[in-house]
Structure formats: structure tokens, C-alpha cells
């Protein structure tokens, strides 16, 4: 099998609700290398979220194979997936999915504790992450008191708590205003620059444009898979991209 960090072969998902069967993902082959940042785009209903959920073991595949770190994982049980995710896969959702009855600090420490870290290790890692994401002062706060952008940064910290091999994110800026989206994008990019492999489903072209590669899904299949073009940089900055008329 391929030496890629993540790879799929003929991955498919069929939703059955008798007598109808809807094929949401119809035979997807993808490969993600170590440290690579791949964005998945496509119209709504093209199967991109379903694909991402299968990659993270949140939904079982109907057909095909998923290989993570050289190991076949598509047939793992729910419990085995949960353990695998704890160590190797971080997940960020569009609607943050933070635990509302826990503080920000506890949300970020929990994954480390579940993975067997000592409370002291978990706390150190949490302090480091919240510091980096500019949330050190919010550690004792309940997530609901934070803005959407801050909640998404906490979710990112939580996803990175165990230094996963792979970060999966489903529309991470989909529910944020422009300024917050820009902050989250900057953090994602910094995370990637430090060598974090990421697969992001996104409708936001700002996010996709920072990826190494963009996959375009259409009708449950990969319609395009290409590196993001490096066009000549605008020499005159803003002046090259906008034109004011009188």
C-alpha cells in the first residue's frame, strides 16, 4: 500500500432509506502526504462532509478502503476508532462542538487526559496551546461566553492537544464573520507551517487558496485534484488587484 499518511481506495458511502439509496460518495481515491494541507471543495451535496466524516471514522464507509499511517482503518470498530482518533486525528467542526458545561481549559485538557497524559502534562499542553492561540485569559471561561471566532480557536486547540498526525476540519470558517475567519485562517496556516497535515472541507476560497492542493468534489466523485497555482506575485501590491474608477 501507499506510503502516504492517509489514503483511500474506491471509498464510497451509500445512504439507504428504503426504497431509496443515495450514493453520497462514489469511489474516491485520495492521498495525503505527511505535513500536506489538502482542501476539499465542491457544491453542497457533493459529498465532501460525508467524505471527511469517513476519513475521521465518524461515519462507516459502505465500500472501499481507508489507510492511515500505513494501517487499514476502515473496518475498525467504533471503539477502536475512538482510540485511534485520540492519538492521531484531530477534528474541528463548523459549529465548534465544545462541551458547554466545561471550561475552555477543561475542553482542551480532556483529550490529553483521555489519551493517558498526566494532569500536569495536560495542563502544560493546554497552557501552551491557549497561549499560542491568544486565549490564555479565557481558560476559566465557559465556551458559551466566547465569540464564534474564539470558540473555533478553542476547538482548534482541543483538536491539536494530542499532536495528531492528521487534522480534519469541516468548514472551520463557515460560521464566522470575516475578521474571525481571517484569524482562524491565519492560525490554520501557522499550524500547517509547523508541519501539521490537514484535510479541510471548505467553501471558503480564502481557506482553500492557502492549501498545497485542492480537491474538487462533484456528485460524490473527485472532479479535480491539483496543487494551488503559484501565480506571479502582484508587484505593486493592492494596486495590481483593484482599480478605482471615477
Amino acid at each position: 500500500m501507499s506510503t502516504a499518511l492517509l489514503c483511500t481506495r474506491g471509498l464510497a458511502k451509500v445512504y439507504r432509506s428504503d426504497p431509496v439509496a443515495v450514493e453520497a460518495v462514489r469511489g474516491v481515491d485520495i492521498e495525503v502526504g505527511t505535513g500536506e494541507f489538502v482542501a476539499i471543495m465542491g457544491p453542497s451535496g457533493s459529498g465532501k462532509s460525508t467524505l471527511l466524516h469517513m476519513l475521521g471514522g465518524l461515519e462507516p464507509a459502505t465500500r472501499g478502503e481507508i489507510w492511515l499511517r500505513g494501517r487499514r482503518v476502515d473496518q475498525l470498530s467504533t471503539a477502536a476508532w475512538a482510540i485511534l482518533r485520540r492519538r492521531h486525528v484531530g477534528f474541528v467542526f463548523q459549529f465548534f462542538n465544545l462541551l458547554s458545561n466545561m471550561t475552555v481549559a477543561d475542553n482542551v485538557e480532556l483529550p490529553a487526559l483521555l489519551a493517558g497524559a498526566t494532569p500536569r502534562q495536560a495542563r502544560r499542553r493546554r497552557e501552551e496551546l491557549l497561549g499560542e492561540l491568544g486565549l490564555a485569559d479565557q481558560a476559566g471561561t465557559a465556551p458559551a461566553r466566547l465569540s464564534g471566532g474564539e470558540q473555533q480557536r478553542v476547538a482548534l486547540a482541543r483538536a491539536l492537544a494530542n499532536e495528531p498526525s492528521l487534522l480534519l476540519a469541516d468548514e472551520p470558517t463557515g460560521n464566522l464573520d470575516s475578521t474571525n475567519a481571517r484569524d482562524v485562517l491565519r492560525l490554520l496556516q501557522r499550524t500547517h507551517e509547523r508541519g501539521q497535515a490537514m484535510v479541510l472541507v471548505t467553501h471558503d476560497a480564502r481557506v482553500a487558496s492557502r492549501a498545497d492542493r485542492v480537491l474538487h468534489l462533484f456528485d460524490g466523485m473527485v472532479a479535480d485534484d491539483a496543487p494551488v497555482l503559484r501565480l506571479p506575485r502582484p508587484v505593486n501590491g493592492v494596486r495590481d488587484v483593484v482599480e478605482l474608477h471615477g
Partner: protein, 164 residues
């Protein structure tokens, strides 16, 4: 540039070089580099059209400078410009005609056309998101360009859904 100069003169009378500085300070690098010669030519034309008038002001150590001010006709023209809604952005019809016509002539496959156009837009987007604006107006213009490009990409998806 005519209306931009009128707008600056509506605030206070000024000479050519002051107008150039004012444009640079207001828009930062976003303004298509105001050239002083062009500003003088424009002012002369505005004067011929009766929208501004000018007067030589003596300076002791330097040559006289010509100071311009708005006329009532100029103020009216400016008012009309401000009150009139601006045109919306135009659809990128060049790509659209390609998309519709090229497959008919057997010149290209629509999916491939859309894919290559999307790649191009994402390349532009990558450059836009990498720019560091020098001022608030410049930042807002970049954001405007980003939003337009996002709309173009969304529209590309609609074309794909309907035509492919």
C-alpha cells in the same frame, strides 16, 4: 480622476501637488499612483469646463502656485456623482461565453474549462490573501476583491451544476 479632484476641492481649495498628496494619504497604495502631470492636465480641463476656477498665489521664495477651487457648477456635478448609485460589478462574461461556446465547437470539455478557471481563481485568491494592506481603505479594497472572487467561484459551481 476628475470627480476625485472635485471631491477633494469641495473640502478646501488646493494646488495640484496638495491634491496628489491628499489622494495618496486617503487611499494609500490602493490608488492608481496619481501622476502630478495628469493631475495638472485634469485640473486645466475642469477649469475649461467651468467646474473649477484658479488663481495664482504669489510665493516669496518659489514660483507662484496656482490654487484651485470648486465653482457652483463643479459642486453640482459632484453632488450628482455622489447621489447616483454606482454600477454593480460586471459578470465575467468572457469566461462564460467560452464555457457556453467552446464545447459546441468541440474545442473543449466544460468540466475541464471549469476546473482550469477554478484553479486560476484560487491562484489569484492565494495572492490576495497574502497581501498586507498599508491602510484601511487598501484593506477594504482587498476584502472587496476577495468577496468578488468568492462569488465568481460560487457562480462557477452553479455553472458546473447546470451545464456539466
Amino acid at each position: 480622476m476628475r470627480l476625485h479632484l472635485l471631491a477633494l476641492l469641495a473640502k478646501e481649495p488646493a494646488h495640484g501637488y496638495e491634491l496628489k498628496l491628499a489622494l495618496e494619504q486617503t487611499f494609500g497604495e490602493a490608488y492608481p499612483s496619481p501622476n502630478i502631470g495628469q493631475i495638472y492636465v485634469t485640473l486645466k480641463r475642469l477649469e475649461q469646463d467651468g467646474l473649477v476656477r484658479s488663481e495664482d498665489v504669489e510665493q516669496t521664495t518659489r514660483p507662484n502656485k496656482r490654487v484651485y477651487e470648486l465653482t457652483p457648477a463643479g459642486r453640482e456635478t459632484l453632488r450628482a456623482w455622489v447621489d447616483e448609485p454606482s454600477d454593480g460589478p460586471r459578470i465575467r462574461d468572457e469566461f462564460f461565453t467560452k464555457l457556453v461556446l467552446a464545447p459546441l465547437a468541440g474545442l473543449a470539455d466544460r468540466m475541464e474549462l471549469i476546473n482550469s478557471q477554478r484553479r486560476h481563481y484560487l491562484g489569484i485568491m492565494r495572492n490576495l490573501t497574502g497581501l498586507t494592506p498599508s491602510s484601511t481603505p487598501a484593506g477594504l479594497l482587498i476584502e472587496g476583491a476577495i468577496l468578488h472572487l468568492q462569488a465568481d467561484l460560487d457562480w462557477l459551481e452553479r455553472c458546473q451544476e447546470e451545464l456539466v
